[in-house]
């Protein structure tokens, strides 16, 4: 890393209506550095990046590239200036091949009349080589898993000869090994003198991979530091503007043997994604289901509540065998599921908060004529969202007007509206800022303490380790083992998730007891 400045942003302002998204942001990017950009959702990170990529025009302020003042009017101009952008949400065409997606920008810039498919495939293979050699360039994009699509998105940005690469939360959908591949590519790009702007909520990544870190809060520049001169706690503190305290709530002190079994699943299989799963969920515990993306975790829990096909398997709920054929049966039993893709299937973005919260059991807000009483509906939403400390301008505002963390709180309020006995949370904090994350973790623990059985699926290992009382690990649809107490460590989970089997002996024991 040198001190040569590649890009400089001076006092950029940007408002959307009355909302000030950026209020005077300064940012400098050196040649060959990896520069982390941190901030809670709504802090203005994405807006700033969209200004750099020409998707938004700033209201005031200047942008310099290598000392020259530039005005960028769109993604094409940004590409020509050497700026590549990997978006947080996957923005690819699902109906065409991987190669066509990767070469999209090049095809657009080319002035040839016909597309050279052979060349396209070669080039795609070349750019996939380092990051995901197993992906077939000829495959249709929608045949890939989410994590693979994310890798394609990154490969696409790599085909451009960019000098500045923006990565907006690239690892949110990647497994650890895929993330590692990405990190080694980032380091090699850095060695070539390419500058990277890296947006992430994960402090470990920021401190291991990045050279400097800039924090934004509420559209205002807070700090820029070399990582060696700061600490994760300080960055988080700058992001939220206060001390967060303990990152995870205290775990349950009860032993599993004393807890009542709430849900017993045995011999659960579907036709191809998972087989022969069995576990017990106790009242008041947080039960984690871990594994790599694609291990069949989501499918398995969805099969329990009737959202995924179930071929074999028995489910006993509070001692009785239950049969669930549609998700509505599951809701009636008090078993609810929070889906992993909030925008896609978790909330109704265009509808009001009140209408989102009431959807699971409309009868609760209906009068005798099966007509909805809007005031009861609003009251219900107000009561539940107040408990979740939701920040909103009113229950009649559409969910799309909320930040990611607050949208997730609406989704949670929806689950809670039916007084659930069991709540299944699939990636409950994906893409959520640190402050909201802590609140949601506390909420989950408090639900468990109130006697709700909680199942949590998470790709973020620190979350699994920090939050769960027990963790079942899956690998390619098979159950690998269940960890409890001090055995819940990242290494143990990765070991099981990689299909390497349960470790023979526990080597790490924290309470001074020696078990060789």
């Amino acid at each position: 890393m040198s001190n040569e400045v590649v890009m400089e942003i001076v006092d950029v302002h940007k408002s959307f209506g009355a909302t000030k998204a950026l209020a005077g942001v300064n940012f400098t990017l050196h040649k060959g550095e990896i520069h982390a950009l941190c901030g809670e959702n709504g802090a203005g990170k994405s807006t700033l990046m969209k200004v750099i990529d020409g998707l938004h025009q700033p209201d005031s302020g200047d942008l310099y590239i290598k000392g020259n003042k530039v005005v960028i009017r769109g993604a094409l101009e940004a590409q020509k200036l050497g700026i590549g952008f990997v978006h947080q949400e996957i923005v690819l065409c699902p109906d065409v091949s991987v190669a066509e997606n990767i070469n999209m920008a090049l095809t657009n810039q080319s002035n040839k009349w016909f597309v050279n498919f052979a060349k396209m495939n070669t080039r795609a293979k070349e750019s996939l080589k380092d990051i995901a050699p197993h992906i077939n360039p000829a495959a249709r994009l929608d045949s890939l898993r989410i994590s693979e699509q994310q890798l394609v998105e990154i490969a696409k940005a790599l085909t451009l000869d960019c000098e500045v690469l923006i990565l907006d939360e690239p690892t949110a959908a990647l497994t650890e090994s895929e993330s590692k591949a990405l990190f080694s590519i980032m380091q090699s790009l850095k060695a070539k003198g390419i500058s990277i702007i890296y947006i992430s909520h994960r402090m470990a990544e920021v401190f291991e991979q990045c050279d400097r870190v800039t924090v934004l809060r509420d559209g205002i520049w807070i700090s820029t530091e070399k990582v060696q001169n700061t600490s994760p706690n300080e960055v988080v503190k700058n992001m939220v503007g206060r001390d967060v305290g303990h990152l995870y709530p205290e775990k349950s002190q009860c032993s599993i043997a004393d807890m009542e079994v709430m849900l017993e699943v045995s011999n659960l299989s579907d036709s191809n994604r998972f087989s022969n799963i069995g576990f017990k969920l106790h009242q008041g515990e947080i039960f984690g289901v871990s594994g790599l993306i694609g291990a069949g975790r989501s499918e398995m829990v969805k099969a329990i509540c009737g959202l995924h096909e179930r071929k074999t398997g028995n489910i006993h709920f509070q001692g009785k065998s239950i049969s669930i054929s549609h998700y509505s049966d599951s809701i009636d039993q008090g078993i609810v599921y929070l889906s992993e893709d909030r925008k896609e299937d978790g909330v109704f973005l265009d509808m009001s908060i009140a209408r989102n919260v009431s959807v699971l059991k409309l009868d609760q807000v209906c009068n005798n004529l099966k007509c909805i009483d809007a005031s009861v509906e609003r009251e219900q939403a107000q009561r539940l969202t107040d408990k979740l400390k939701l920040k909103s301008a009113g229950m009649d505002k559409p969910v799309s007007s909320l930040s990611g963390g607050n949208q997730q709180k609406v989704a949670l309020a929806k689950m809670l509206s039916v007084n659930p006995s069991i709540i299944i949370l699939d990636e409950p904090t994906r893409g959520i800022d640190v402050g909201a994350k802590v609140e949601i973790h506390q909420l989950i623990r408090q639900l468990a303490n109130e006697g709700v059985g909680v199942i949590v699926i998470s790709s973020e290992l620190p979350e699994v380790v920090g939050l769960c009382d027990r963790v079942m690990v899956m690998h390619e649809g098979k159950q690998q083992g269940t960890l409890g107490g001090d055995d819940i460590t990242e290494q143990n989970i990765i070991h099981l998730a990689s299909g390497l089997g349960q470790r023979e002996k526990r080597i790490i024991k924290t309470k001074g007891l020696e078990v060789a």
């Binding site: 509505s328 299937d345 109704f348 509808m351 209408r355 007509c371 539940l384 009649d396």
Partner: protein, 341 residues
């Protein structure tokens, strides 16, 4: 573990009654804005036309205008529901015609006209059911499924009538009353129309069954993940649309005392346009009966004004097209503004 049920700060499962909110429903504000805009436009046309033509603000002209869209207005209700769920129905014109032809044919075969009408409406519902199954079971888009139903219904009408109109002047007077009679000078059709739209507007806004229509149209997957049987909702909307089209067909039969196999050609476009002008979004999740009715009223007032102003009939479709285009464009611009972040 602490005791379950103790008073935690997040005792969300308790049902303590919260403070009742006194604010109005802001979400419907946008929809209401659309309806208010339409009312203003219609009022402006009324004022302008009352100066331009002495015949415009007469009871006879009002009655004629109302009659011109009352029956179609009933069909618009079904179309609006189906558009909100994310579908579209191209077959309504043909299904209306088929209803008329089936009932007329049965009547000519000697069946009581009331029974014949019931059978006919039932057949339309059944056709809608079958079409709906191709959508929910096979996964066809409603555009294609109803395009096929349009052809099938029109074809059946042609086959049943062998291409010639059925003359039904022998219909009993009490049956003709539906389409031709008046109560205290108000045509019975208009009364039926008002009853249908008032009930359906209320239900669409408030009934929990219709709320599921909005959920499904807004985000089908999220609806599915909320325990809503979205296939059942879609099927219901398609059946409702065909049934109301059948019902309208019967009214027309009573009104004309005849069943013509080429009746209602192109009517579906008028009805879709009305629903969309009234604020129904083809992306699903938005729309109201009141808006759609104002939409069809606007189209009808514009055409009757043009007739009074001696504008050539050849201009009418063009002007209707422009109205549709501007309504949808304004809608899209507002949408873009709202979601520009």
């Amino acid at each position: 573990m602490s005791n379950p049920g103790t008073n935690h700060s997040i005792n969300v499962l308790g049902s303590a009654p919260g403070e009742p909110l006194k604010k109005g429903n802001l979400l419907s504000g946008f929809g209401n804005m659309r309806e208010a805009t339409l009312i203003l436009i219609i009022a402006a046309i009324f004022i302008a036309m009352s100066f331009a033509s002495p015949y415009f603000l007469t009871w006879a002209n009002m009655k004629a205008m109302m009659l011109s869209f009352a029956t179609e207005g009933i069909v618009v209700v079904g179309m609006t529901v189906l558009i909100i769920v994310g579908g579209i129905d191209l077959s309504v014109g043909a299904v209306m015609c088929l209803a008329m032809v089936i009932a007329g044919k049965l009547f000519l075969m000697g069946i009581n006209p009331w029974l014949a009408s019931l059978i006919s409406i039932g057949s339309c519902s059944f056709m809608g059911y079958l079409t709906g199954l191709t959508v929910t079971r096979i996964g066809l888009h409603t555009f294609i499924a109803t395009l096929a139903l349009m052809g099938i219904s029109r074809g059946l009408s042609m086959i049943i009538t062998q291409g010639t109109p059925l003359s039904l002047f022998t219909l009993p007077p009490e049956f003709k009353f539906i389409g031709q009679g008046s109560v205290y000078g108000v045509p019975f059709v208009i009364i039926v129309f008002f009853v249908v739209i008032i009930i359906s507007d209320y239900l669409l806004r408030n009934a929990s069954a219709f709320r599921k229509v909005f959920y499904t149209g807004s985000n089908e997957k999220a609806a599915e993940y909320s325990g809503i049987n979205t296939n059942r909702v879609k099927l219901g909307a398609i059946i409702l649309c065909s049934t109301l089209a059948g019902f309208a067909g019967i009214i027309y039969m009573s009104k004309f005392g005849a069943a013509t196999p080429n009746f209602g050609v192109g009517l579906e476009l008028n009805i879709i346009a009305a629903a969309v002008i009234g604020g129904a979004s083809l992306k699903g999740g938005e729309g109201s009966v009141l808006g759609a009715i104002l939409g069809i009223a606007l189209l009808s007032i514009v055409s009757s004004s043009m007739i009074l102003l001696n504008v050539s009939v050849y201009w009418q479709d063009l002007i209707k097209g422009l109205i549709l285009l501007s309504a949808v464009s304004i809608d899209q611009i507002l949408h873009n503004k709202r979601s520009s972040r």
